[in-house]
Symmetry: C2
């Protein structure tokens, strides 16, 4: 099943069921007021949404209209939790190597994860506001899951069963604010402004065989300023599966329905597949030549993040964002 949220005059938007091929959509206010409301009561609501989805795919859903990704907000315009892992250790290795450090052994068994702000996501086609270019604006292409309720101490298997939906992510980052924040010891805060998610969230079964072992075995396609930038496979070298990342959260606290848990920047050792963020290219440049040449994003720069199945069909729609100046 595929779901989206159209922007309207409300904070949580209009829940839409979207056809598998992303061409048609139908509003379902009679089933749930919002995606969060659907997640709050998933066992009861999900079958009703599935009925609409099946009818929509057959071309028989009453009230269906052409699906317009430009009208979408992030599937959850605001959420109660956004916890982002860093499961592709190639990304971590490059960052460390560029400053002459190694990756601690524990990083291969104990996930890195930070708590992100979730009160105010950007729509997938919204501009990225930039107050100061010196802050070093970067995109980060990721995959994320939305969970149902997860009990305190839940194991990996139970966490896997609690995964309701998947999305793509642009985890916008202000790179030059990171060193000072990490030196303070409290983790990322100002360096992580509002995140954007893909127009469409999909149930795991929509990925078919690509959803295997709690990972998405498909390339994440990133274009930067209308040119190829990266297509690393999200299922390769993901050190921790999504169920393992959710279990990391659940170790010391329960998760409420609608919690978003991210993969971290998708990254492969194979350099020919490119990168999903500018920082990684800069690290490669530092390692290779001693100096970063790739600049961070400036006003007018564009990023596009998408994922296609083996048949070449877009699964989640595309995140497309341009940087604008903000006074």
């Amino acid at each position: 099943m595929k779901l989206a949220t159209y922007q309207n005059s409300t904070r949580d938007g209009q829940l839409m069921v979207v056809s598998r091929d992303l061409t048609r959509a139908v509003a379902v206010p009679h089933i749930a007021a919002s995606l969060q409301a659907a997640l709050d009561d998933w066992d009861k609501i999900e079958p009703q949404l599935q009925q609409v989805y099946q009818a929509l795919n057959r071309g028989e859903a009453a009230g269906a209209e052409a699906f317009d990704q430009a009208r979408c907000h992030s599937p959850l315009p605001r959420a109660y939790q956004w916890a982002d892992g860093s499961a592709y250790l190639n990304h971590v290795e490059l960052v460390r190597k560029a400053r002459g450090a190694t990756v601690p052994e524990s990083f291969y068994s104990d996930p890195l994860m930070y708590q992100g702000g979730s009160d105010n996501f950007l729509p997938p086609r919204a501009a990225i506001p930039l107050r100061d270019p010196a802050w070093g604006l970067d995109f980060e292409g990721e995959v994320a899951v939305i969970t149902g309720d997860v009990t305190l101490g839940a194991g990996v298997e139970a966490c896997g069963r609690a995964i309701r939906l998947l999305m793509l992510v642009n985890d916008v980052t202000l790179r030059n604010l990171i060193p000072n924040e990490l030196a303070k010891g409290f983790g990322f805060f100002q360096s992580k402004p509002a995140t954007a998610f893909s127009p469409v969230a999909v149930t795991p079964d929509e990925l078919g065989e690509a959803w295997e072992g709690g990972k998405v075995h498909l390339p994440l396609l990133v274009d930067y300023n209308d040119a190829f930038y990266g297509r690393p496979n999200a299922g390769v070298e993901m050190q921790f599966s999504f169920p393992e990342l959710v279990a990391h959260v659940a170790k010391t606290r329960a998760l409420a329905a609608g919690s978003i848990v991210g993969s971290g920047t998708v990254s492969n050792h194979d350099r020919s597949v490119g990168s999903c963020c500018l920082a990684e290219q800069r690290m490669i440049e530092i390692i290779d030549s001693g100096e970063a040449r790739t600049p961070f994003m400036k006003v007018g720069d564009k990023v596009r993040i998408e994922m296609k199945n083996a048949a070449g069909e877009s699964l989640f729609g595309a995140i497309e964002q341009t940087v604008v100046a903000h006074d």
Copy 2:
């Protein structure tokens, strides 16, 4: 005005208007479905809640009943943001001094803040579940504000005007998980399990002259296992006011209505006033004698957090929590 949320079968609970003296309360489902709903539309809803509040204080509110703090959830049982500062630098100084380090000069001008989990708060009288006593369970007595919408880049004055309500906090912390998490560089995560807030949230005017300069100039009263533990004044030595803490968040992103921003553990240089967390006592012991003697919380231990006005009246009701084992 004073507001509370009674636990019921819904995730967001029943919004209650509470009398100034905390003796009476009235449900207001006809005005707003929940406190979050009220905050989402505050300019329209607040005057209606005020009318009920005034009638309640006059003893004239229809449907009023005795107020029962034990029925309360945290005022926002789940929230879209919980950002916690560390504005009492005496606390930071003790932590650093105990390990032979000094406080960097920048800490006096650049607030420390971490992003907390907000999907699943504990009710103020709920047990604190503990899976492993070796994790070093501690309480932290704090004050927090709930904001309205704040625009990206808003200044301190605008942030001050956006403060809607104040609450007390028990920022539950797993001390022994902190060193490993901070070493990883991504900040607190598993070391910060579910937080609890006071039974009642109050508008700033309820504090009278004690609300001055964006700080609460009253002692925070902490009892531990039914004995005095601390009463530091929350208005003394608070390095950053609440408006300044909110502006710290707004530097790189907008805040949505219902965002909670905390003060960090209240702490005074005057040792005679005690502490609001066990870790601080342990640091003082290490500084004085080279060894921490105060153990962390174990099953059965109780903490109580309250604040009274100059007349000795409880302002927010009391957080009262006991530790229970969780398998």
